[in-house]
């Protein structure tokens, strides 16, 4: 399998794109997820409808189709041209945000109403309550489901191949086409994904154990 090492430069670049796109999608998804969860829990009727249509669209259709829409359809409708990386990042953020909204909503609702009233009785304003009572708990509670989102988004970045982004799977396709040795190439690339995801899970687990607070877990709160 040494022939693969000749392509290590390619592979490293592809891996870099895969990881970066995952992190970009997750980061954008956190912002969108928190905002839409807050809107869905505390917002007005119209806002709830808008948020839930957004979530329904991105959770109900395939990422591949969403990527094609953002790469081909949206520029055609708006006349704004953007490159594949922009279209890909936007799609990943919106897609992940739709899933993360569900996790954050569950976590926000798990911060029981009695604590909100207790905060009010101390004279705390709503923003103060959000910042000091709701979010610190919700962010901790959300880590385990959020870990799943990290894994599933990380693996779905392979869909970026449909708009031509040179991520890890796309690199594998090229190497396999050049070397005519698909079996080794895909096994090797699969191994890279596997090691990356396994290590990431270990790190996230470590983080969770670091910030964990007795009695504040999904199973006990929700």
């Amino acid at each position: 399998m040494y022939f693969i090492l000749e392509y290590s430069q390619f592979i490293i670049e592809g891996f870099y794109v895969t990881v970066t796109m995952t992190l970009v999608g997750l980061a954008g998804g956190v912002v969108l997820g928190v905002l839409s969860a807050l809107g869905d829990v505390y917002g007005g009727k119209l806002l709830k409808i808008i948020i839930n249509s957004y979530v329904e669209f991105f959770r109900g259709s395939p990422l591949i189709v969403q990527l094609l829409i953002f790469y081909y359809s949206i520029p055609a409708i708006t006349g704004v041209k953007w490159d594949a990386l922009t279209a890909g990042s936007l799609t990943l953020m919106l897609n992940s945000g739709a899933y993360q909204k569900g996790y954050f909503k569950g976590a926000i609702e798990a911060v029981f109403k009695d604590q909100l009233i207790a905060a009010k009785s101390l004279g705390m304003t709503f923003p103060q309550t959000l910042r000091h009572v709701v979010l610190p708990q919700a962010l901790r509670i959300v880590i385990p489901p959020w870990t799943n989102e990290y894994v599933s988004l990380g693996l779905s970045t392979s869909a970026l191949i449909v708009i031509g982004i040179r991520e890890l799977t796309n690199v594998a396709v090229s190497i396999s086409a050049q070397t005519f040795r698909p079996l080794e190439v895909y096994l090797f690339i699969g191994l890279i994904y596997f090691v990356w995801i396994t290590l990431s899970l270990k790190v996230l687990d470590w983080v969770y154990n670091k910030v964990k607070i007795p009695g504040l877990a999904v199973s006990e709160v929700m």
Binding site: V111, F112, D114, Q115, I117, A118, A119, K120, S121, L122, G123, M124, T125, Q128, H132, V133, P136, Q137, R140, I213, P214, G215, L216, E220, V221
Partner: protein, 245 residues
Amino acid sequence: MEVLACKGLRKVYGDLEVLKGIDFSINKGETKVIIGPSGSGKSTFLRIMGLLEPPTEGKVFFEGKDVYGENLNLNMIRAKIGFVFQDPSLFRHLTALENVKLGLKVVLKMSDEEATKKAMETLKLVRMDEWADYYPAQLSGGQQQRVGIARALAMDPDIILFDEPTASLDIELTWEVIDVMKDLARRGITMLVVTHEIGFAKEVADEIVLMDSGRIVESGPPEQMLKSPKTERAREFLGRLLGGV
């Protein structure tokens, strides 16, 4: 001096009239105990007096000022009215100490050092200083409730409202909490307490108030209320509460 009062208080939820016109007042240093059957509106009354929800009709006065009539900062008044809930409602991500400090820092803008000092003093008062670094989930119900009292007390409120603080505790834990509350009453803290712990009322209350179906039926000093209530309704309810049939 009058701390908290209300006039013509009504509260309606949908079609349900829960409070049907209540006049009430409590002075500095007094302890008043509210009793009454389930569903009579005690909690609702307390929540409105604690400014946790507005009345449908009527006025609430804090230190003589019409709370909803003038353009007052409600949060600043809430900070001066302590509230202890039936379920301790502690912030679950914070230790006992941090629970007490939060209001001091966020609302009263104390420095971390000041807040820690004040919080530790208050935890000592409720005999919880040794548990300062424990999280709510690691404390018993009675201990949590005492931290809840410390959280309210540390703000140096002008009055503390208690809504059945021992209702979800078993007997021994109830004593722990009642002892702490008696202490506070003797220190001259103004307290309005919904409870059916008659021993507490007998020992420290200046007045017992009986509520029924959204009205104050009768009120008076404990000796009189417990021995010779004037109304038939009070005789009946107290008879049952004190162990008659």
